[in-house]
Amino acid sequence: MDAFLSVFNISVLVPWLLAMVLGIFVGGIPGLTATMAVALIVPLTYHMAPIAGLAMIIGVSFTSIFAGDIPATFLRVPGTPASGAAVLDGYEMNKQGLGSLAISLDLVCSSIGGVIGILILIFISPVLAGFALKFTHFEYFWLGVMGLSMSAVISKGSKTKGVISMVLGVLVSTIGIDIATGYPRFAFKNAELMGGISFIPVMIGLFGISEVFRSLQNLENLSESAVGIRISTSFKAVWKLVIKHFRLILQSSILGNLIGALPGAGADIAAWVAYGAAKRTSKNSDKFGKGCVEGVIAPTSANNAALGGTWIPALVFGIPGDTITSIVLGAMLMYGLKPGPLIFEGERFLINQIFSVGIISQFFLLFIGYLGIKAYTQIFKFPRNVVYAGIILFSIVGSYAIRNSVFDVGVVLVFGLLGFGMEKVDIPLPPMILGLILGPMIEENLRVGLIKTDGSFLPFLSRPISFVMFMIVVVMFFWDPIKKIIMQRKKAGKGGTNNE
């Protein structure tokens, strides 16, 4: 309790809130990621009390992950990698004039997801961290396969076209240095290609830039404001939805948190998997991707819950759960703390302070996030031609900022054109992103796993966790055909649909 009250200190609160406001800007600008925000903040915190520095880091990471959903919802430009999945239904809802409902729902779900994530961190982190250590290449391989199978789930329309898109993503991911042998693939002695095609500029190009190209086709309505409807939110409506779908929020948050707790997977994968799982378990699965609220709830609850998860291995074992916590572990050394297994015993008070900051940040997020939405919607009121020019400008600046490389700017433009072309022929874009993120995860874990076993596939099946994950993949694969048969049998009975 002392720890809880101690964070309401002016020397903690001021930098904390400022960092959260910064997160809204960073997250909202495509290409500037939560990780980057944390890396920039850390040098400022060296002369502060440890808890003030940590509060800044925690605050900025939560707000920027949420703020990434704002341009994702209104402009189809994911602000951070973790917002990729939020594009799917959020932007569809916006097209139907429900953008403000989507983003408010998003905000509330982000906060609830964040709280659930932190609660799991507080109460069962030692158990979960021990479980996460059991994961090695064999298990990560199946996790990747499970994720990739979601590409069938998230693609609208033709499954074949979904597969084409996914395979393209996987192929692009093979460019660069191969981790299993250290051999540069498809790099042609070019240092930039050696570094691989990073997926953030691809995502900005595929979704954001292609959308701008699309609107350029018919040069009408350019002087109208980009987001036509007035941004006014009835929190009552949001509340109703939250209560109605609370089970889904819980499910997505727990799933997101578990994935976040694995050192080999973070908030971006968590959001996609939660989306896929929501569609699998939903009664309205045919509405996903067409602007349904469940498609907004699942990824946005999961990505903020995953952040709490990434702190689990970081606090329990001192091993990073993602890029943000790896920076945090470095910063802790600067504060004179020794991150690692001993921190739980040695620094109990600080740990309690971290937990308190985590929980309180979610309430601040509600408030600051709401102001953030208001601020951004002011921008979206500008005429279309101004906003679209702004998207291009910020996309270019943001993609340059990732690695300070002009090459990545080219990547954005190339994939903008590609995305435009793909949508022309009805090839869905999300599977390509998934292929790009998960391709390396699957390949690396399969091949390194095989190095470990001298080429034997047995451990991929015989280890308990990997066997369970394999079975889940099998069940998911056969679920649809089986469901179809059952549905046909049931056809006599009337199928009621739930309308939102």
Partner: protein
């Protein structure tokens, strides 16, 4: 009226330009200096670079900014630093990997493409096993590697052809073991390798001691030896490989360099400023609290250190069978 203001503005522009032009000849530096860091923001190299940038800025009287140009196992950043304008305004934050790029076929850049400012850090490789491992010295461990069938022991530490991998290969070779007798699990850096060791998925890792220190202090892992010439006073209870009868020391380092064509007087300004930085108390405190080892080699000394290491790597890459 407007015309007069315009005229004044124009005159200011012209003379301002001339003034700036005149200054350039007199003093270096007269505009911000950039440090190119080949590794990502928030990592060890980036944090040291940013800390030094602050101190360097005070010495030079000009802003010093750190720019991360990452990717290609360091190839992108080292390339950018080597091919920058040789005017002293772009410094490369070199790391050990500059020696390996050519061998691995990632780039044609070698240490010969740079003129050294100074080296400011060195961290020796350490051999670490799980706390419940039956081996207490590197000798015991390597004897077991010799005796058991090939492929029994699984090593990890970092990616293929990285400093920790190369240190391992040479250590095995020095003990008369074919490096291929052990399996090597490549990972993306030391942190995932530590995770693998904690989960008992690998047997031995090679990486710097500060990276495993928290786990060792918590009794989860134990470090058998560091590959240094002498014990490190910061962790004096850890023996060196040499004490255990294996004549081998290796480690990573960080330093600053400029493109090879940079004029000597400019280099000297940078060197003098940097010398003051690395002798400062703030710098020493920073390195100590982060667990980074301090090793200063200035100018030519650093150049010859790099070139010697670069030449020595030919044998190790041959042993490993990596690259071309």
């Amino acid at each position: 009226m407007k015309r007069i203001i315009l005229l004044i503005c124009l005159l200011m522009l012209v003379f301002g330009g001339l003034f700036a032009e005149g200054q350039k000849e007199v003093t270096f530096p007269n505009k911000p200096v950039t440090i190119v860091c080949p590794w990502s923001a928030g990592g060890g190299t980036d944090r040291t670079a940013r800390f030094i940038a602050d101190l360097l800025s005070a010495e030079l009287g000009q802003p010093v900014q750190v720019v991360n140009k990452t990717g290609g196992a360091g190839a992108v950043g080292h390339n950018a630093a080597a091919t920058a304008a040789p005017d002293g305004y772009t410094l490369g934050n070199l790391t050990f990997e500059v020696n390996t790029l050519k061998y691995l076929g990632y780039s044609d850049i070698t240490p010969a493409d740079f003129k050294s400012v100074l080296q400011f850090n060195q961290d020796a490789a350490a051999v670490t096993v799980s706390a419940d491992s039956p081996y207490n010295t590197v000798k015991e461990l390597l004897e077991a590697v010799k005796k058991e069938p090939a492929g029994t022991f699984v090593f990890s530490g970092s990616g293929i052809g990285t400093v920790w991998d190369l240190a391992r290969i040479a250590m095995l070779d020095k003990y008369g073991i074919d490096p291929n007798r052990v399996k090597y699990v490549p990972s993306q850096g030391a942190a995932p390798a530590i995770t693998e060791l904690l989960g008992n998925h690998v047997d031995v890792i090679t990486c710097s001691y500060p990276e495993v220190a928290p786990q060792v202090e918590a009794g989860k892992l134990k470090t058998l030896a560091v590959m240094a010439d002498e014990r490190n006073p910061q962790f004096a209870d850890i023996p060196t490989l040499k004490e255990q009868g294996i004549d081998w020391s290796y480690g990573t380092w960080r330093g600053f360099a400029v493109p090879d064509d940079t004029p000597d007087d400019v280099l000297k300004v940078l060197q003098d400023a940097m010398k003051k930085v690395v002798e400062s108390k703030e710098y020493i405190d920073f390195m100590n609290s982060n667990g980074f080892g301090i090793e200063i080699r200035i100018g030519a000394e650093f150049d010859s250190y790099m070139m010697e290491q670069f030449a020595g790597l030919a044998d190790i890459f041959e042993l490993a069978g990596y690259g071309n």
